[in-house]
């Protein structure tokens, strides 16, 4: 029982196939801990983004992608729940910052509500905008320009805005798909610090092909190779004493 409380998401036998004859993610089993940061790493094309996108059912947007297995979160199988409810509980941050170009900063934060057709009164809107922006440390920078377009911000600010947009719906799990790969080192450092602080509020799964980043911010690490989950465990342990030879080869730079 204690074990379940510490786990936010239990991935059971999850497989994803883009074409009928090949599994891009094959039979992954893993527990994602609550209020911690879990990093998924591996070389390009190993299926780490595919795995991530299966969790909030993004594969359903495209034809012919098959997903099987079970994803247990809060007593529900995410693959058998209404996709929109799943996505409201599981936020996502993308590789490139993508604030909606026609919306103001405030509207971007509230997008999750307006796209769900939920109406809020003025004070609720103000509270949500301020809280979400504060939680990503953007409030002081943009509080005077809430009505400006989100696309005028710098890349790092835009990405923080996107994180705030996802947090505004108070998700229990936040998926991040290489959130810093399009950013410069300074913006990357800011985002990394932010992610480390955010784990108090939300459990985070972050995909990265930057080993250093995984080591710096995560408590648990998954190493994937050619669609398979090779190893998963404590970040410290996985980096200092990997049990699988492929993990060792990847960490030492022999494959990748």
């Amino acid at each position: 029982m204690e074990n379940i409380d510490k786990t936010i998401l239990r991935i059971h036998d999850l497989s994803v196939a883009y074409t009928a004859d090949k599994l891009s993610v094959s039979h992954v089993n893993c527990d994602i801990p609550r209020n911690q940061i879990t990093a998924i790493m591996g070389p390009s094309g190993c299926g780490k983004s595919t795995l991530l996108r299966a969790i909030n059912r993004m594969h359903e947007l495209y034809r012919g992608i098959q997903v099987s297995g079970q994803l247990w979160m809060n007593g529900l199988d995410l693959l058998k729940t209404n996709a929109m409810q799943v996505r409201r509980q599981v936020g996502m941050v993308f590789q490139r910052p993508n604030p909606f170009p026609t919306m103001s900063i405030a509207d971007n934060i509230l997008a999750g509500y307006s796209l769900n057709g939920l109406r809020l009164d003025k004070s609720q809107r103000q509270t949500i905008v301020e809280q979400s922006l504060r939680s990503v440390g953007l409030w002081d920078e943009v509080k005077d320009s809430l009505t400006k377009r989100g696309t005028f911000l710098s890349g790092g600010q835009q990405q923080r805005l996107c994180i705030a947009r996802a947090l505004a719906l108070r998700p229990s799990l936040l998926l991040m798909d290489e959130p810093t790969s399009a950013l410069d080192p300074i913006a990357t450092a800011t985002i990394e610090n932010l992610i480390s602080e955010l784990k108090q509020e939300v459990s985070i799964i972050i995909v990265t092909h930057n080993m250093g980043q995984a080591r710096r911010i995560s408590q648990k690490s998954l190493f994937m190779y050619l669609g398979e989950l090779v190893e998963c465990g404590d970040t410290e342990q996985l980096f200092s004493d990997p049990s699988d030879s492929r993990t060792r080869a990847y960490l030492s730079g022999h494959i990748g």
């Binding site: 909606f100 170009p101 307006s114 796209l115």
Partner: protein
């Protein structure tokens, strides 16, 4: 090479020059606010040496009325259809529909004219602005479908994904994210479509027919600026009005074209 390219602009200058020089002569406020004179009135004015009375108000009203009605019908259908074709571009139905759009866009306007004659004018037992509206609407539709489809296809897929990842419904995602983001291009396409059909004469010849007075009843024949130009061209006594009517049409078309360019530049994301 430069010479050949420059030669290309000769027709433009010749057309603009001719229309502008000849057209300004008759272009007075009354030209815009009065209806077409009869041949008899024009003949009297010509023989007595005064300017021909009247103008093209009936044409302007008719063109605007039919254009607005055609737009109201064609724009929403065209936008939704374009969104559909862009979102499902990999399905067979969408491919077929896309080719059909190409065919409809390439169909000569004369064919649309006589088809609408067979569909609307014969059952209604008479020419009407409704028939003209349908003909213009059918011409406009594929242009809007195409520009919406292109615009939506060009949006990064991450906008769509981000909206849906927030739990957004398909409907609200399209209305609040997709269409607003593509709005600049859709608007440009719509302006171009309007400028394309505003000068169309042929589809109106067998549908709206023409009318000598300002007509507000859409079940009756109605005139349009291009129809009047055709009428003036064929009637020697009314020919002085020809160039002014062309000038008005040309100014409207060029304004629409230029504003579509400005909008396109302004709304670039």
């Amino acid at each position: 090479m430069v010479v050949l390219a420059a030669l290309m602009s000769v027709p433009l200058l010749a057309i603009l020059g001719k229309v502008a020089v000849e057209g300004v002569k008759n272009l007075t406020p009354q030209f815009l606010f009065q209806s077409t004179p009869t041949t008899y009135q024009a003949l009297i004015a010509t023989t007595s040496g005064t300017a021909i009375p009247g103008g093209i108000a009936n044409g302007i009203v008719g063109t605007l009325l039919m254009l607005v009605m055609a737009s109201i019908a064609a724009i929403p259908v065209g936008i939704f259809s374009g969104v559909f074709l862009a979102e499902r571009h990999d399905t067979i139905f969408a491919k077929v529909a896309s080719y059909m759009t190409d065919i409809l866009q390439g169909t000569p306007s004369i064919i649309l004219g006589i088809i609408v004659y067979a569909w609307i004018v014969i059952p209604m037992r008479g020419y009407s602005a409704i028939a003209g509206t349908v003909a213009l609407g059918i011409m406009m539709l594929p242009l809007i479908v195409r520009s919406t489809e292109e615009a939506v296809k060009m949006l990064p897929s991450s906008y769509n994904e981000a909206a849906l990842a927030l739990g957004g419904s398909h409907f609200l995602t399209v209305c609040k994210v997709i269409i607003p983001s593509a709005f600049g291009q859709i608007f440009t396409g719509t302006l171009l479509a309007v400028s394309r059909i505003i000068g169309e004469t042929v589809p109106l010849m067998f549908t709206a027919l023409g009318c000598a007075v300002v007509q507000w009843n859409i079940a009756r024949p109605m005139s349009g600026v291009p129809l009047l130009i055709w009428q003036f061209f064929n009637n020697p006594t009314l020919q002085p009005l020809l160039w002014s009517a062309s000038l008005v049409l040309l100014i409207i078309v060029l304004l629409l074209n230029v504003s579509s360019k400005i909008v396109a530049n302004k709304w670039k994301i």
